[in-house]
Symmetry: C2
Subunit: 340 residues, 2 copies
DNA sequence: TTTATTTACGCAATCGTTCCCGAAGTTTTA
DNA sequence: TAAAACTTCGGGAACGATTGCGTAAATAAA
């Protein structure tokens, strides 16, 4: 089965013109007479001509498509980021190809190979929690592939970055817990090698130090797969609750970890916030319907997506080599509800 | 900035061969000697040759990409469907291009135009709630574009369809409510023109009739945008609750409508299930953490995605004209929790 | 009226691959 | 030993759109 599209050649033949004339007429070139232009345009519309993007790509040596790698599209934060990216990309005629790393370094690498072989013009990536070795990504960048980091960046690669104000978000959340009277605030952080984890941890530490509360290392735990695997949240929680003096509040470092904690508390019949308060980073819009309604730090995901797409397109469309890159830090929002 | 890739021509020149020989060697043609093959393959690996997919697409007249149109990727059901599609497509070397209609007929149409101009080899679509006019889609199908419907199908277009057993799902849910003693079961259906709405409504009616409960038309309401706009859920609920004899149970016809109902009940301080029971179609994995944990009908979304991708690839790769199409009906799962 | 300039179009190369032919050189068959 | 059949490779034409260059005809300038 083949899907026969109408080409410039067909139009040329039917109108008794050359393909170059038709092409130029369609692109509104000045060297085509008004009459011919009208003739071609009307005929093209009549037969439903759509330029073959593949041929255009080959000729122009660009694909008009950008790749996006996120950990999981089912994650509200990332689906909102993608919506932001698409809103910009589509309006500039770019296709968005989405790939999911599922927090796996292997899958990230194969996505990377896949996208580059699809000759994407640029890449927006939020690196996976597992990834330790960035050499492939770095090589791509050095070979000239425009890259923009969103949410999770790599210090080593100099390019545009769009991130939330993780420090301040974590700081505000921790401060809120302190003000509510919680004394032993534990943190379930995402993989320690991620930039966001470090920033959030720093915010957490800063708030504690400001309140003269000592930072206890045994209240800091990590979920190396960002909560993608429930067992790691479960283990982290168990370790925390096994201690002599149990924590009275939990600060969760990602969407998945936040809901994972809640799930754990439900299963163990831990009352929230009576027994244990809970706050976390989350962009789910179901958090207020949960039991109890969750206090969360919300990131401007859609806007972050838009910003990263704009920056990427500016990289792609600029001819010269970029040397100055910006890091856009967008502010987070603290939503206080029943869980704290 | 350009990203210079190594081509077959480079290899040919460096090895003193012709491009045709190199091409054939890479494709393991029988008419190339083992020695030459080895030479070419080793050199290709050394210089990191990756065939240009765009050129291949142009030559082969296929893009090795498939389009997917769903209402919203943030919707758990669809993100799971997409994961299923990707798992099959990627393993067959196909790129998946995702577009969101947001339940809007206009956006669906522009997505359609966009995807076809990207010369996709096939399309998997779950039509938007708003769409009434399928002529464009039908024309594409008649012109030979392989199409598979997932979840929401159109009777008018004869092709493969992968749907959940909506009738049985709705029947089981309604029967469950009846067994629990609910008498006045209202339904908040998705747009009435959708196939799934009709099927679910039929299941609802069948269960009531079986229990000899009269079907009251004033207990049947519609959310034309599938709950995408909260106001329509709100209105529907208000209308239902304004009646002399209020309903004692709600059956919600989609993910968004289900959570929309819960949100409404929360806002109005309606206790669930004491004042009003709630059950609905949903694939969110947060439903058990909600307040109260929601009883839901869950669809095998991932498997539905896999099935539709397999069917689409078989359509794409078969040379001859297909005349026999199948409709795969996959069974749903009833998860009973506190809300009923 | 002759020359210069502009207008409006066609020819052909190009992007990177694939593949139909044709043509050597080698081996097998009659 | 001559003809037939392989084997192994190169030339070159596609795929569809774009674009530099060339060139008639039409117009403007001299």
């Amino acid at each position: 089965m083949k899907f026969e599209a109408v080409t410039i050649k067909h139009i040329a033949q039917e109108l008794g013109l050359s393909t170059s004339t038709v092409s130029r007429a369609l692109r509104d070139s000045h060297e085509i007479s008004a009459a011919t232009k009208k003739l071609v345009l009307e005929h093209a519309k009549k037969v439903g001509f759509k330029p073959n993007r593949i041929a255009q790509s080959l000729k122009e040596r660009k694909s008009l498509s950008i790749g996006v790698i996120v950990s999981e599209i089912a994650n509200s934060f990332f689906s909102q980021v993608i919506n932001g990216i698409e809103s910009i990309a589509y309006s500039h005629g770019y296709t968005v190809i989405i790939a999911q790393s599922m927090e796996s370094a292997d899958r990230e690498l194969s996505n990377l190979e896949y996208l580059t072989s699809s000759s994407i013009d640029g890449l927006i990536i939020s690196v996976s929690a597992e990834t330790k070795n960035y050499s492939y990504l770095k090589k791509l960048h050095e070979r000239g592939l425009p890259i923009v980091f969103v949410d999770r960046a790599i210090d080593d690669i100099e390019t545009h970055k769009v991130i939330a104000d993780n420090f301040k978000g974590a700081y505000k959340a921790t401060k809120h817990l302190i003000q509510k009277g919680y004394k032993r605030i534990a943190i379930l952080s995402n993989n320690s090698s991620l930039s966001i984890s470090q920033e959030r941890l720093d915010g957490y530490r800063a708030a504690l130090q400001e309140a003269k509360i000592p930072v206890k290392e045994n209240l800091i735990t990590y979920c190396d797969h960002g909560g993608m695997i429930y067992a790691e949240v479960e283990n982290a929680m168990k370790t925390l609750l096994k201690q002599r003096i149990k924590p009275d509040a939990i600060f969760a470092g990602s969407d998945k970890i936040t809901t994972g904690c809640l799930k754990f508390m439900k299963q163990k019949n831990i009352r929230t916030p009576a027994d244990l308060a809970l706050i976390g980073f989350s962009n789910t819009d179901l958090t207020e319907l949960l039991n109890p309604p969750l206090s969360v730090i919300r990131q401007p995901a859609f806007e972050m997506g838009q910003a990263s797409a704009s920056l990427l397109l500016s990289l792609i469309e600029s001819k010269k080599l970029h040397t100055k890159f910006e890091t856009r830090i967008q502010s987070t929002e603290l939503l206080i509800r029943k869980s704290t």
